[in-house]
Subunit: 336 residues, 2 copies
Amino acid sequence: MAMLGGRPTLEEVALRAGVSRATVSRVVNGSTTVAEPIRDAVLRAVEELGYVPNQAARSLVTQRTDSVALILPETPNRVFSDDQFFPGIIRGVSQELEAVDKQLVLMMAGSTASHGRVERYALARHVDGVLFASMHGIDPLPGTLARMGMPVVCSGRPLGRDTVPYVDVDHVGGVRTAVGHLIASGRRRIATIAGPLDMVAGVDRLTGYREALAEAGLRCLVASGDFTRESGHTAMRQLLVDDPDLDAVFIASDLMAHGALRALKAAGRRIPEDVAVIGFDDIELARYTDPPLSTVRQPIVEIGRRIARQLLWLAAGEEVDREVILPTELILRDTT
Amino acid sequence: MAMLGGRPTLEEVALRAGVSRATVSRVVNGSTTVAEPIRDAVLRAVEELGYVPNQAARSLVTQRTDSVALILPETPNRVFSDDQFFPGIIRGVSQELEAVDKQLVLMMAGSTASHGRVERYALARHVDGVLFASMHGIDPLPGTLARMGMPVVCSGRPLGRDTVPYVDVDHVGGVRTAVGHLIASGRRRIATIAGPLDMVAGVDRLTGYREALAEAGLRCLVASGDFTRESGHTAMRQLLVDDPDLDAVFIASDLMAHGALRALKAAGRRIPEDVAVIGFDDIELARYTDPPLSTVRQPIVEIGRRIARQLLWLAAGEEVDREVILPTELILRDTT
DNA sequence: TTGTAGGCGTTATCAT
DNA sequence: ATGATAACGCCTACAA
């Protein structure tokens, strides 16, 4: 049992086991060059004293902390508001990290002021690496850290010309498939509610929509939201004003789709008879909207796992792919 | 600019500024006993070299890490699945922590195996404190850590007889108000879908329901869920079998209520004409269910902030209240 | 196989 | 007001 105030050190364990500090260190770190009986004695002493290595001391010499930082752009609306994206990412990341006994340090970085904090922190702690999730606009931070030799991986293709490794899904392809399905089933006035255009996910999904319509020679009708329910609701009402006869809409996130569904129903549209809708994400909510939402599934937790794995490779000094693209899948429910 | 491989140390800054390490340390830590010109010279050197203090070295001597751990019981279903509780807590906690420039270390602790990890970690890192959110059953970990002198605060009254400080809401009172409202508006066959009974939130909300019905001389009808949508859906169907004539139901979480709404509609019940429903939480979803859900609001983010603040006080060596109870509020929308 | 000793980058206690 | 100097707890050559 460790006692209050002053936990045992290597030194004390060594004393108790009747060996040198070096030997204790070897045992604790699993070196194989220690005689069986000695190892046992040390282990017993460790047990009896309740010894736990001091991570700060260890880091000081090893230059590692066995922890990685996950940086999330805290925008008032989105992060943790009611979106399953971040929770999913966190979950995936922590699964992978746990497997190798590393810790997850979470940092919100909304303001540019906090960018300073983040940078200082990453440097000061010697975190073993930094993960970024869904940045807005052109953020120099990932590139800056990478250039200083810090392992960095992003979820979502980073804007700008920094070339840090990232994991993303095939937004364009996924949306083209979805909109293609709408067209194939006879819809002709197909609108979209785009995500924020300072985010790759927003831009790429809009591109997919545009490409699909262009190919079919159909006209575009675009409204914009910021991935929140509320914005989806507002955008849908706008769309209904712009073209009361629209017969389908692709919406860049399920949450926005949820808001849009409400606007559609309020306007007396039957779904999917009058207007078909397809969302993007496939969060659990999608199965419970009324009617259940057709959507483009992206493997959110898997993205978290992959960025974590990539980072661990990087930190281990390996080369990793500059780009990993995960597939999406069209899930057809009752809104199409 | 710090260079790759080997960032500058106190020593180098001292050299460059032409002073001793001690003086640099003083400046960096904001001591007031340093002459103006010297301070400036040091600051300039810090700037030019891109010096950032090494946290490990610092922790080694100060015995602090400026970081706190947040332990979440990772159950396959709940954490981060689609519940706004944990995200809200995290958000509140990180707001408070950021204000004092401390870091948040996130740890999932589902298995008992991971309990070992958590304990070791908390000890090894000298985290300044540990936060627990919504534990299941009787968990000895908070008490154990507290006894070892570690500052600990829980969100939700801990089961068992360990006496660690906690922050919770008035579950019983909130539910009694809600059920009281149902009764006052003429409902007589009022069922409930309870949360998991190994959690205080589950037990207390059930108690509130029982008390309210007992007072009114009404009969109880109870089904159980685990706070997920799916379980709410299942439980509601069961309830409908048990008593096809029920005219109201109090549901221990909004997510379960969402699932239940679906079951109710599938069974052809009109809401609220045939059956009234009230949930608990007031997550954003509640405004978007069909119809919008009446519910008992609990201030989730505020809970996060409070546990963080309490912990900070504790860590600073102050006394804190053993118990902080936050109020709830009945939000009436269209399901009542 | 085991022990010795030096150093990791800071802070803090003394002198000065 | 500033500067030596001794910890802080551990890892790791290097020596034995």
